[in-house]
Amino acid sequence: MKIELAARDGEVAFDCDADREILLAGLAAGHGVPYECGTGTCATCKATLEAGEVDEGWEAAPARRLLKKEPREILMCQARPLSDCRLSIRGRLAQPAPTAPGWARGRIESVTPLNHDVLRLEIRPDHPLPFEAGQFMLVDVPEVAGYRGWSMATFDAEGRTLVFTVKMMPGGAVSNWLQACDRTGVEVGLFGPMGKATFRPARDEANLLCIAGGSGLAPILAILERARAAGHFDRYRADVFFGVRTFGDLYETRRLLDLAAACPSHIALTFVFSEAMPSEAERASLPGVAFGEGFVHEVMGRAMAGRFADILAYMAGPPPMVEAAMRLLVMQGKVPPARIRYDKFS
């Protein structure tokens, strides 16, 4: 099917098969179709259907509540064409990604628990999927409809191995599927890379402020490891705030401690606990780490007071945490929006 997409600053046209989502087809064709989550939660890819017919896809997509009925708006990340279509968006087209994302098949190489509810998942794509630190991939597992967006937790420039840290959601379809039996060797669908909250050493010469909550540590780890490998911390520092409920919710602490140990006085780690502070023994197991109590954005705001100038901020985690941290950076920190990087998943 032929898709024509009109934006305020121009128009693009591309082909989209009936079993493909319009957003993904547009991105794969190298166009800067606006999006953030790619999974039906944020509504950044909403478009007005001017002509043609689509299958709107996931009926319960959270972003549906932000759509107008008249004129009819659709989510390009969910909709598949039933005919040639003409669409329009209010805003401008985005800058196309340096490397257009694409579809691939992947094989689950291993599934390893990192704590009581976080799994480390390693997937090998059937062809390399080069990505930037901070990006995510859409993953489609058998028996569960639709894509999930998972951030890569390591940086492998060539994209031969994709490592994810996935938080198990009680009652979640993919969580249930992953835990039902050993999924090693199972084939999954992939699309990516996606996401604009990236770190590039030559472009991003600045002190980093990294704020992660719960499952949001993955892209932060990839960014820190990418920066370290590029020698970024010879000149700049990173303040890393990782918020969880209790000590038992921490994961990948060894990788964080190793990073900090390799860049002494240039990477500062603060772990923040919203429900219970760790015991003396637990604290002793995390040498060099500072501890905070409460919400991660509040602890971050106090610790960073007076040090927001010229920082580059990365945030990932539960949407309320990202929203609260974003507001604090804008209002208290006066951080320019162009220096606040996150991908909205709500």
């Binding site: 950044t44 507001r327 804008v330």
Partner: protein
């Protein structure tokens, strides 16, 4: 021809609060800086999201969806925003804020 309509009483909007009002069927958002009150169309010119969830620090209005920013007094873009914010003419009378709603302001 002006068409002055009452938006709210002067003390209904707290400092730096972005508060939504329905003025004769037209949705607007009002914000205060000291004694000055400003009234914009409710929807962000970017993607039609409500500005009432946005932020104001007494100088700048920021939409919380994609962080477009404007000078709160003039509506001029101060950063990424590609479209300036429109302001309804306002006046204060008898302890209330009025806006000229003769024409609904839109970005289309």
């Amino acid at each position: 021809m002006s068409d002055w309509k009452r938006v709210c009483s002067l003390d209904e909007v707290a400092e730096c609060e972005l508060k939504e009002f329905d003025v004769a069927g037209i949705k607007v958002v009002a914000v205060r800086s000291g004694d000055d009150l400003f009234v914009y169309p409710l929807r962000c010119p970017h993607m039609d999201e409500p500005l009432s969830t946005g932020m104001c620090d007494g100088a700048t209005v920021t939409c919380s969806f994609h962080l477009w920013q404007w000078n709160m007094k003039t509506g001029e873009s101060t950063g990424e925003a590609e479209i300036d914010l429109l302001l309804y003419p306002t006046k204060k009378e008898g302890g209330a804020l009025f806006a000229d709603m003769a024409k609904e302001l839109t970005y289309d």
